[in-house]
């Protein structure tokens, strides 16, 4: 595929493995085996059976009639929110847990922002009887309390991270450090298409099922596919099988926070410059001295100062258009979906929905919005915003 990672682990200028020597054996082991394992028949059979009977795939592609009438176009929602655990994250964690078993790793670590990846990891570990430790920023623990409880009930240990901005970036640092210190028995399940090669490709391959299903479920091609982007895993999942269908407009929506003209934003491609964060070359929000800027988004899952290297590449070669919406625009979009369709979306997915306000439509347009997760975890934010 034209946009796949090259032998050196790069997408154009982006990607690579900027890791300290201590991580070299882990990354080498993963790099040399993941493609083979992913393509192994027994692995594929076990994963697809779990995705069907445990996760509930394929998720519906739902024609949102009232939302379509509201905008005067045909709007479809890819219902990743109906996945077991409430978001697309489980597609990746199940695949990686099966991979970890084949690498003989008994201990799983993960980072989480909104807690969706943490819950999905804890779930997959419970299913397979593996030890699970989830690193989570102290600030996120506060604002995503229900997911913290869920992870604990599922048997995971949640370790609060107090460094830096106390959010996703710092939780990721801490998970990487854990992996440096526990190499033999531990597999690190990264939650997005970020991190050192081969993670961006590994997670892309596991999330690509989203666009594979959309393609099967639609009569013809959509005109647009819209997804929110933090690190970018649900977006890559929704875009992947359309990347070479150049007639399909692909739109990634970043978290604008209070707006890209303020200093409270997480819109990496609008505000960032090239650099290395979490061991891959991409765009990131940083000072002129290369210090990573603490981002802001109302949505913990998008509160990340970097973006996956494949997105950086798709941005540079203009295959995907990246835009952003503010916290308030996302909240308004969430309310619209609740009232028009009876669906409470995750705050992350609400960013994709909010982009509809910025589009102009032909009545024949067929727009797929990737509804990456449901809003149960965001109830307190929604309630506070309403009062």
């Amino acid at each position: 595929m034209k946009y796949d990672v090259d032998e050196q682990g790069f997408y154009g200028d982006f990607g690579g493995a900027f890791i300290p020597e201590m991580l070299h054996p882990n990354i080498q082991e993963l790099k040399s085996s993941y493609r083979k394992i992913l393509n192994d028949d027994a692995f594929k059979k076990e994963l697809s059976s779990l995705l069907k009977d445990y996760v509930g795939r394929p998720t519906p592609l739902y024609f949102a009639k009232r939302l379509s009438e509201h905008y005067g176009a045909n709007i479809y929602l890819k219902r990743e929110d109906l996945c077991h655990t409430g978001a697309h994250k489980i597609n990746n964690t199940l695949g990686q847990v099966l991979l970890a078993q084949r690498l003989n790793k008994s201990r799983i670590i993960a980072e989480t922002g909104a807690g969706q990846h943490g819950v999905a990891t804890a779930t997959a570990c419970a299913l397979k009887g593996l030890e699970c430790i989830v690193y989570m920023g102290a600030k996120d623990i506060e604002r995503q309390a229900p997911n913290v409880s869920r992870m604990k009930m599922l048997g995971a240990e949640v370790r609060p991270v107090h460094s830096g901005s106390k959010t996703l970036k710092d939780a990721t640092n801490e998970a990487i450090r854990d992996w440096i210190n526990n190499q033999d028995d531990t597999h690190y399940i990264i939650g997005s298409v970020v991190g050192p090669d081969p993670y961006p490709d590994l997670v892309t391959q596991l999330q690509a099922i989203i666009s594979e299903e959309i393609k099967n479920q639609m009569d013809g091609l959509p005109t647009h596919v819209v997804a929110c982007v933090g690190g970018g895993s649900n977006a890559i999942g929704a875009f992947y099988h359309f990347l070479e269908d150049e007639t399909v407009d692909l739109i990634g929506v970043e978290a604008g926070g209070l707006g890209v003209k303020t200093d409270k934003s997480a819109a990496t491609l609008a505000l960032g410059s090239r650099g290395v964060l979490h061991a891959s070359m991409s765009y990131l929000m940083q000072t002129s001295d290369g210090q990573v800027i603490e981002p802001h988004s109302i949505s913990a899952g998008l509160d990340y100062p970097g973006i996956g290297p494949l997105h950086a590449h798709l941005h540079d070669c203009k295959r995907v258009l990246y835009s952003n919406v503010t916290d308030q625009e996302a909240l308004d979009a969430a309310n619209r979906l609740m009232q028009l369709e009876g669906i409470i979306p995750a705050l992350e997915s609400s960013h994709a929905l909010a982009y509809l306000e910025k589009m102009t439509f032909n009545s024949t347009d067929k727009i797929v919005i990737n509804l990456s997760g449901r809003g149960d975890k965001d109830m307190s934010t929604y309630i506070n915003a309403a009062t």
Binding site: P20, E21, M22, N181, G275, G290, Q291
Partner: protein, 255 residues
């Protein structure tokens, strides 16, 4: 010949390399600390350029990085301060790839040469990228790259690292982040095997050396030791950085 090469050639054992974080504990402490370490008998200093996301570092050095950044340290200010480190002691800078990349690698190397920096440690700089893009640049500005090896580094990579090196190789005592409190005893089999790795360049051992016993053990098997977290902790517990340098060196070399 660089000051670093001279020291490595003239002192064949018991080299002591101390790491400090620029901008820590106070913004302008670097010259005081480097000069005091020289006076206390330290053979070379490793100057940490703070980074917001130091993934190879444990809590102690993470915290010193965070404090230094909060104090307002910048790369340009560090180069200014390095000009005031006027004692004749080899200087190595340690940082991560992103700050250097953003600053501009060539500009960074040029500044290093101007203020007399001898070597650079960038733990997350991939060897292949160094070789293809930066080796000539480093050479042009007289900077030695210093690479890490671990107990898990393969023979093949050891050879590659040895070939890319020009002064010494930094062996980490165990595959971990910096400043684990467990000491280095569990890695002693690895340490005793260092001399048999067939490396052309001398080896200094770092990570997790916190007592004079640790250092003595390292000195049995390598040309010297590198101490970071233990020194940062000592700085934190003392009010005068200058005094702290002297008391620390005395304590750590007491064995």
């Amino acid at each position: 010949m660089s000051t670093l090469k001279k020291v490595l050639e003239t002192k064949k054992e018991g080299l002591l390399n101390i790491y400090c974080t620029a901008g820590y504990p106070q913004l302008n402490d670097l010259p005081t600390i480097v000069n005091a370490l020289h006076d206390a008998g330290v053979d070379m200093v490793e100057i940490g350029i703070p980074y917001s996301d130091p993934i190879a570092d444990g809590e102690t050095i993470q915290q010193s990085n965070a404090v230094a950044l909060k104090n307002g340290i910048t790369i340009d200010l560090i180069f200014e301060q390095l000009k005031q480190c006027n004692k004749n002691i080899p200087k190595i800078v340690m940082t991560y790839f992103n700050p250097v990349f953003k600053y501009g690698l060539e500009h960074f190397c040029e500044q290093c040469q101007k203020v007399g920096v001898d070597g650079i440690i960038i733990p997350d700089l991939p060897l292949e990228l160094y070789q293809s893009s930066y080796e000539k640049m480093f050479q042009k500005y007289g900077l030695s790259p210093i690479f890490l090896i671990t107990p898990q580094t393969s023979r093949e990579r050891l050879k590659f690292i040895d070939e890319l090196s020009s002064t010494f190789i930094y062996a980490v005592s165990s595959s971990s982040t910096t400043g684990k409190s467990t000491g280095i005893n569990e890695g002693s089999t690895y340490l005793s095997g260092l001399k048999n790795l067939g490396l052309q360049h001398p080896v200094l051992v770092g990570f997790n050396i916190s007592t004079s016993e640790d250092l003595a053990l390292v000195n049995e098997h390598a040309q010297g030791g590198i101490i970071g977290s233990a020194f940062i902790k000592h700085l934190r517990e003392n009010t005068s950085p200058q005094e702290a340098c002297h008391t620390f060196v005395k304590k750590i070399t007491s064995c």
